[in-house]
């Protein structure tokens, strides 16, 4: 495809995910028993035929970088194109911590300048969905748009964390409100933008040196009459995990639904992740597992219900895990009861310890490496 990709993976979403993003960017959050959030956008890019992708990181990028040590798993290990990971750097002219989405792209202007592709697909790294960006780019070309913003009709959902778009009959953008208290429409921006590379360069050069650092605040909203900005509706499954712990919890639990698993697990093209080559999950004599997704290398000796279990988890005899997320390497001792809980990586619960959260909306979170 004649497009390059930019994945905005900088944020930790103002700490809305608490302990879960204390040590990682939200794009690095584990999802659905074997993925990390950025796998979805990365795979979408690769599966849409985008051969060159930049990941813009900032906040706690270690675990993200660790995940991206090799680009070959997403088929980006190429002579032409490939995967570029950009972090803010110090130079003789100053210490340039990214000041916003537009600024983060502006500071990596060379990436745009040195490309030849006509279009740029910009997407955030913390959403769970499967999309062929080619459809959006074709729409963008057909409409003769300057910028295309991908949105979804989110009627009935909490819209307070989204950018809400007002579109005319032709889908041209009339108004855009960020995180409105009273949403005018239910067309919510998914943070996916299509724009020509040349126009993006021009706009960034115009706006950023004047102190305009946000893509939405300083480009989309003020330029909505001068430029032809169109909305493109995406109707498939889309979920953001960056908005809060309860959304993160719910997105993981969505993998217990057949229709969601079918999208990501059964239907080609697939979502790729860094392979770990663990052996199959092992169900020992005491295992009683139901309504649960399981990562490889896990060993069950106890009861597990309605949960998302990542790789290399161990549950001991007579333990009960209910309505919980257990990340990679979690160990549950004998006779433990775990309910409405998110246990981050390598949490160890010793024999007999209960860990019980209030509800699915307010699960208890134990941070990485906690030993109880």
């Amino acid at each position: 495809m004649k497009a390059i990709g930019i994945i905005l993976a900088g944020g930790n979403n103002d700490g809305r995910l608490g302990a879960l993003t204390e040590q990682r960017a939200s794009a690095a959050l584990p999802i659905g028993s074997c993925y990390r959030a950025i796998d979805f956008t990365l795979s979408n890019m690769s599966n849409s035929g985008i051969g060159k992708v930049a990941v813009l990181t900032q906040y706690n990028s270690r675990s993200l970088r660790d995940h991206l040590t090799s680009s070959k798993w997403w088929d980006f290990g190429r002579k032409q194109g490939g995967l570029f990971v950009f972090t803010p750097f110090t130079s003789s002219t100053g210490n340039d911590w990214f000041r916003g989405t537009a600024d983060s792209i502006y500071q990596n202007m060379t990436y745009l300048m040195r490309s030849n592709e006509e279009y740029v697909v910009i997407a955030s790294g913390d959403s769970v969905y499967k999309m062929d960006y080619r459809d959006a780019v074709n729409y963008h070309i057909e409409k003769g748009a300057d910028i295309t913003v991908v949105y979804q009709n989110m009627e009935g959902r909490d819209l307070s964390y989204f950018g809400i778009m007002q579109l005319d009959e032709e889908k041209r953008l009339l108004g855009f409100e960020e995180k409105p208290e009273q949403a005018q429409t239910s067309s919510a921006s998914l943070g996916i933008y299509i724009i020509s590379r040349k126009l993006l360069i021009e706009l960034l050069q115009e706006v950023v040196p004047q102190g305009g650092y946000g893509l939405v605040k300083d480009i989309i909203i003020p330029f909505r009459s001068r430029l032809k900005i169109y909305g493109y509706e995406f109707k498939g499954y889309w979920s953001s995990i960056g908005t809060g712990v309860s959304d993160y919890f719910a997105t993981n639990m969505d993998f217990l639904k057949k229709e969601v698993r079918d999208i990501f697990v059964r239907q080609y093209p697939f979502i790729e992740t860094k392979p770990k080559d663990e052996p199959p999950a092992k169900y020992n004599a005491g295992a009683e597992v139901s309504d649960t997704v399981v990562g490889s290398g896990t060993i069950f000796n106890g009861k597990v219900e309605h949960s998302v279990i990542f790789r290399k988890v161990y549950t001991a005899e007579d333990s009960v895990v209910r309505n919980s997320i257990l990340m990679e390497g979690v160990k549950i001792g004998k006779g433990c009861v775990i309910e409405n809980a998110i246990l981050d990586k390598d949490v160890v619960i010793s024999d007999g310890q209960p860990v019980i959260g209030k509800s699915a909306q307010e699960p208890i979170v134990l941070k990485k490496g906690t030993k109880l």
């Binding site: 074997c34 697939f270 979502i271 199959p280 092992k282 169900y283 139901s290 649960t292 990562g295």
Partner: protein, 424 residues
């Protein structure tokens, strides 16, 4: 010139005919093991874990699946600029019409150019038939310490079983003075594991000389006896650990089932000495409400709605509601229909078993066509086989291809019978 201390040559061309229908479409090294692995993953992972980063894989019989699996070696970190994995297939050489690999040593002989191009000091000969974890670098150290021309890895087997193996008769310090293939009255219990380290210059000489005499030049039959006769220094290297030749339907089934034990002798769940494999994607596995899974291994992407007992499931297997699987191996991509009952069966990749099918029912009658292969009660389905709804199938049966209701008189297949539907 490139210089490697030791490179490996992995003989992966064998059919493994005693595995019956399981090797109909794939060479034995490409047969799956332990749910999500293939047999060749073990020697390949052993290589990279031992620091051997240059591997020639010799293919011959049904190489397609093997080639796809190995690719450029990415899963084993064998995609290397200097070395890595190279698939070596039989080929036409200057002036002749080409020839097949006629024996184990002949196969290596035909690839002398490949070995020379790596300029190694030592060559490690492996086969793609065995399940084990082994540090070849320790064996190399032993080889160098002894100043041997060849070192042969051996396993101490029970004396009463020694007559089934190639036996090394050794002096006190494990120097070999005699090799006997399946001796009626064994003098020792040191069985060859088919793993050799040769000092390349010595092996090269022996290969050139022997291939002038024997067109089917073989390590056990020709090269080892020849080197002993010439008085060269050969040592036996004792391996202590799990090693299994999964060459028969029974040993294949048993060795898989051993993995199910709470603490198996062969442990795949430790981080040390990892076994790597190729899988295009590794999605989550799902166990539904109402499913019962006990004493089983279930690979990624599988969806279980029924009951699975004491069994091994490969990737992306679907077990529909009401189905019961017991003491069986179900390989990747297979779908088991509603209400089907599978007892002591091996079902190869991408099969479809219809609703309410019963398999493994009745008397243990050996298979009529191949009694030597199917005689322990295990019924086997070859790859891409489909079985229509409601069929009842006995023990030691073999099914292959898209079978139809008319293949089964009164909806039954008695123990020991086969249905083979050829097609492409």
């Amino acid at each position: 010139m490139r210089k490697k201390e030791m490179i490996a040559m992995l003989l992966a061309g064998g059919q493994g005919s005693r595995l019956g229908i399981l090797t109909r479409k794939v060479a034995k090294p490409a047969v799956t093991y332990g749910g999500r692995f293939r047999i060749i993953d073990f020697p390949l992972s052993n290589c990279i874990n031992s620091g051997v980063d240059t591997v020639g894989v010799l293919t011959q019989y049904q190489p397609l699946r093997l080639n796809q699996h190995i690719g450029i070696g990415i899963p084993w970190d064998l995609d290397k600029k200097n070395g890595g994995v190279t698939i070596l297939a039989p080929h036409v050489k200057g002036g002749d019409s080409g020839e097949w690999f006629m024996g184990t040593a002949n196969a290596i002989y035909q690839n002398i150019d490949f070995i020379d191009s790596n300029n190694p000091e030592y060559v490690l000969i492996l086969s793609g038939d065995h399940i084990y974890k082994m540090d070849y670098s320790q064996m190399l150290r032993f080889h160098k310490e002894k100043g041997a021309a060849a070192t042969i890895a051996v396993l101490e087997v029970p004396m009463e079983e020694a007559s089934r193996f190639g036996i090394m008769n050794t002096e006190e310090d494990d120097k070999i003075y005699e090799f006997e293939e399946k001796p009626a009255n064994p003098k020792s219990n040191l069985a060859s594991m088919g793993i050799y380290i040769f000092t390349w210059s010595r092996l090269r000489e022996a290969l050139v000389e022997d291939n002038a005499i024997h067109a089917d030049s073989d390590f056990g039959k020709h090269i080892i006896p020849k080197m002993l006769e010439e008085g060269q220094t050969l040592y036996a290297y004792r391996f202590r650990g799990y090693w299994k030749d999964v060459g028969t339907i029974e040993s294949y089934w048993e060795s898989n089932m051993e993995l199910i034990k709470a603490l198996p002798e062969f442990n795949l769940y430790e981080d040390f000495w990892k076994i790597y494999t190729n899988s295009d994607h590794q999605p989550p596995q799902y166990t539904a409400p109402g499913a019962k899974v006990k004493e089983s291994l279930v690979s990624d992407g599988s969806e279980i709605y029924g009951e699975v007992n004491h069994s091994i499931l490969g990737p992306e297997v679907v077990v529909k509601a009401g189905a019961v699987i017991k003491d069986s191996i179900i390989m990747g991509g297979t779908v088991i229909g509603e209400g089907a009952v599978i007892d002591r069966c091996i079902i190869d990749e991408d099969c479809i078993v219809g609703k309410n099918v019963q398999m493994g029912v009745g008397e243990n009658v050996p298979n009529e066509a191949k009694p030597n292969i199917y005689n322990t009660g295990i019924t086997v389905l070859g790859t891409h086989t489909s079985v229509p709804d409601d069929i009842v199938i006995g023990k030691n049966c073999v099914l292959y291809g898209a079978t139809k209701a008319e293949d089964f008189a009164e909806g039954r297949l008695e123990s020991g019978k086969s249905v083979i539907r050829e097609g492409i």
